[in-house]
Structures are given as C-alpha cells and as structure tokens.
Subunit: 144 residues, 2 copies
DNA sequence: GGAGATCCCTACCAATCCCATCGGAAGCGG
DNA sequence: CCGCTTCCGATGGGATTGGTAGGGATCTCC
C-alpha cells in the first residue's frame, strides 16, 4: 500500500476537523477551524495544507468561511465520511482502463475489493472516538 | 493499489517463465528462456527487462545460463512462488518505521494484512493454469 | 580455440510527479 | 477601514520513473 504524504495530510486534516467537531458542545454552532491550527496540531506545512484543503473543498468534504474568525469545517457529519471516500478523492484515481486481457486482471480486482472493504467501513467518527479513548488511557488523571 | 510499471514487468517476466516451464514436456531438462523471447511475448522493452531480471536473480527467484542457448529459468517451482513474494522483492520496501502513535496505524495494519492475504495465496502456477484455460476458451479449435 | 550468443554492468537522460513555498487578491468581521 | 483569514496561480528543487546506450565478460557449441 503506497500512500503519498499528501494523502496522509488530507486524512489528518479531516480527522482533525472531525475531532474538533466531536469535542465541541452542541449548544452553540460549530465555529470554523483555522488552517494554522490544523497545521500546528497535525504537523503539516501550513502552505501545503492550504492547497490540500482547497482540493478537499472542491470534492465536497469540507466547507470554508473566509475572513476573520473564518476557517474550515466538515460538510457532512463525521460518521458519514469514510477513509476510503477521502482517499479516493485525493489520490489522482487514474483507473487507466484496466487491461482485462492480462493474467493479473483477476488478482488486481481481488486486491482492490479487499482494500475497499476495510477502507469503506471506517468512518472518521470512529477514528476520532478510538483516538480519544487511547489518549485517555495514557493520561488518565484528567478528572482526579 | 499503486503498481509501478517496473513491478508489472517483473510479474509478467516470472509469469512467462512459469508458463514456459509448465508447457514443457518433463522428459528433457527445461531449457533456459531467452530475454528476447520474454520481451517479445510480454511486450517489455528488452534492455529494461534485462535489468529487471538482474534484480530478480539477485533476489533468488530466477537463475540464468550464459552462452549460446542460454537464458533465464525459475529457481523454484512455479507453485512455490507467490505474487506477493515477487512484489515485495521488486518494490523498494520502505516500511519506514510505521508511526504507531497516529490514529491511522490500526487501519494501515488492517489494509496491509488484507492485501497480503490475497497476494500471498496466489502462486504463479495457478496464474499460468488459469490463463491457459482462458486462452483455450477463446481459441477452442486447436485440436479439431 | 574461436565465434556467436548471452548475460552483466555502468552511466546517462528526459519526463513526471511530489512536496513545498511565495506573493498577492479577495472576502469577512469588528 | 483594518486586520485576519481563506483563495489562487506561479514557481522550483528534488526524487523517482521509465527507458536508452554501449561495451565488456563469460559461457557453449562447433
């Protein structure tokens, strides 16, 4: 599985937005998250992140508010976005007319479907929840 | 699943050797297969194929005989080589110290094992047999 | 012992991504 | 209107990819 750094950043960005979304108290409307904050938390070069988020917006995963107190937010609920969705949108999917006439066609199909199976059933809500639990395990003194 | 052309060539080369091996009558010892023949059958630039086979030999999958009537042959039986074996040897396997401390570690593990599962249980003997059957289906007049 | 065929090795190259940075324009809130 | 923030196009170095070129080195068969 060859995952480009760019794709990794995209996943981390969506993950960050999902985490922020889920930590937020539902009373007030969710405020946008600034690029600079995401970049700092996820260790992503800020300028690079800008263009990644641009693509992510084009693909309809996130939405943005300009100006002061602007930023990015998720366009859908965190449990309605899977890792596979984001990955397929970000990676330039050059399906390139899979040559059906070679001996490997079958095995590539099998691999693709195996990968999709695991990628398409993990949502970012799940990811964020698991991560929060794991963090709580290592810093369990928060309410003592 | 991002597969480089080079890896594809390597797979095709091993597949070609396996096919030749299985078509050969077992009475006489298997004669080596020439690079030029593999290149022509599998549509691979000959000089490029040379260096790919070199690597494949270094990895222990194939063996070579020099001189007139020389060429390449499999180092193991076709049913003892899986697609995964070849792929891992050819692709520069930069495992790169999987960061265990990110939210995606788990999912990458799951993907890797899913991919390995399908890649490691397909041997080239299987591939060659399936291919021969498929060809026979489309050109069924060979013995009429 | 040649001759011819083959493997082997090093170097090189052009194109294409990949990762990132810069500079400003445009929009929004106070 | 001013500061903050997203947006957008251009640029650029570096690595990788896909391939070429050519000359040995070495083996086998006659």
């Amino acid at each position: 599985m060859n995952i480009s750094v760019k794709s990794e950043y995209a996943l981390k960005a969506v993950f960050d937005l999902a985490s922020q979304h889920m930590e937020h108290r539902q009373a007030s409307p969710m405020p946008p998250v600034k690029i600079a904050d995401i970049a700092k938390r996820q260790r992503i070069p800020q300028k690079f992140l800008e263009l990644i988020l641009g693509g992510l917006k084009q693909s309809g995963f996130v939405d943005s508010r300009r100006g002061a107190e602007g930023g990015y937010l998720l366009a859908r609920a965190p449990d309605a976005i899977t890792v596979g969705d984001v990955l397929r949108a970000v990676e330039n999917v050059k399906v390139a007319a899979r040559n059906n006439n070679d001996p490997f066609a079958e095995i590539w199909r099998r691999v693709d479907s195996a990968v999709s199976a695991v990628l398409d059933d993990t949502t970012f809500a799940e990811l964020a929840r698991n991560w929060q639990e794991k963090q709580a395990q290592f810093v369990p003194n928060w309410d003592i």
